[in-house]
Assembly symmetry: C2
Homo-oligomer: 110 residues x 2
DNA sequence: CGGTATCCTCACAGATACTG
DNA sequence: CAGTATCTGTGAGGATACCG
């Protein structure tokens, strides 16, 4: 009774949900990558240039993980030279508003 | 011009904010600890029992870090046996709604 | 009760060189 | 251009024993 709770979170923290969520965002570059792709689709090289300091290996493996998690979508075009674009999936877009909000936490504690 | 943007986030991701935010939540038990204390003040032993699987050392060091970051408050009572209570600071309470929302990301990707 | 003090280990971030 | 392959180190996280 009381009222419907169709999309509300339980009042108590849920360890499973937290673990899943942290699996998405934890990693020095992940959140940044997702937020960049939340604005527009980008090519690998563009991402690499927008993230000075990240090594090729780390960027590639983070992208691969995020694709596997269903956050990002990878589109390869059969051209020469090769072109690969990364964008958010539907789920990624669903999560985007919350992911953006995480930056507000940074504002509070800066 | 346009409209006021007193508390809005910039459209582009801010690496500094993201880094600060991740420094708060990243860590296997941190978010869980914060959300538990978001509901009520708890003693060390209570936290320890609500987090089966966390070792004494890890719990103590996570609590210490969160206190240092300004998320938690530690109150020790000069009693025997000793009593120590942990609660959210003002900043912690400010961040709480966003921190709770992070669980929704888990719902999306489960 | 509320922690330290030690010791361990292994996953993962990073640098660099190379390839389809 | 868009990645792999390989090697390396660092530190978060953990197990256990002990202390004020």
């Amino acid at each position: 009774m009381t009222k419907s709770n169709r999309s509300e979170l339980p009042p108590e923290p849920d360890f499973q949900l937290i673990t899943t969520a942290l699996g998405i965002v934890s990693g020095k570059w992940r959140l940044y990558i997702i937020l960049l792709l939340g604005e527009k689709t980008l090519r690998y090289r563009q991402l690499s240039e927008m993230l000075p300091g990240v090594s090729e290996k780390v960027l590639a493996s983070e992208l691969k993980s995020l694709v596997a998690l269903g956050v990002l979508e990878r589109t390869a075009y059969a051209e020469i030279p090769p072109r690969v674009e990364y964008s958010l999936t539907k789920k990624g877009h669903l999560a985007l508003p919350i992911l953006r909000k995480i930056q507000e936490i940074g504002q509070i504690f800066n």
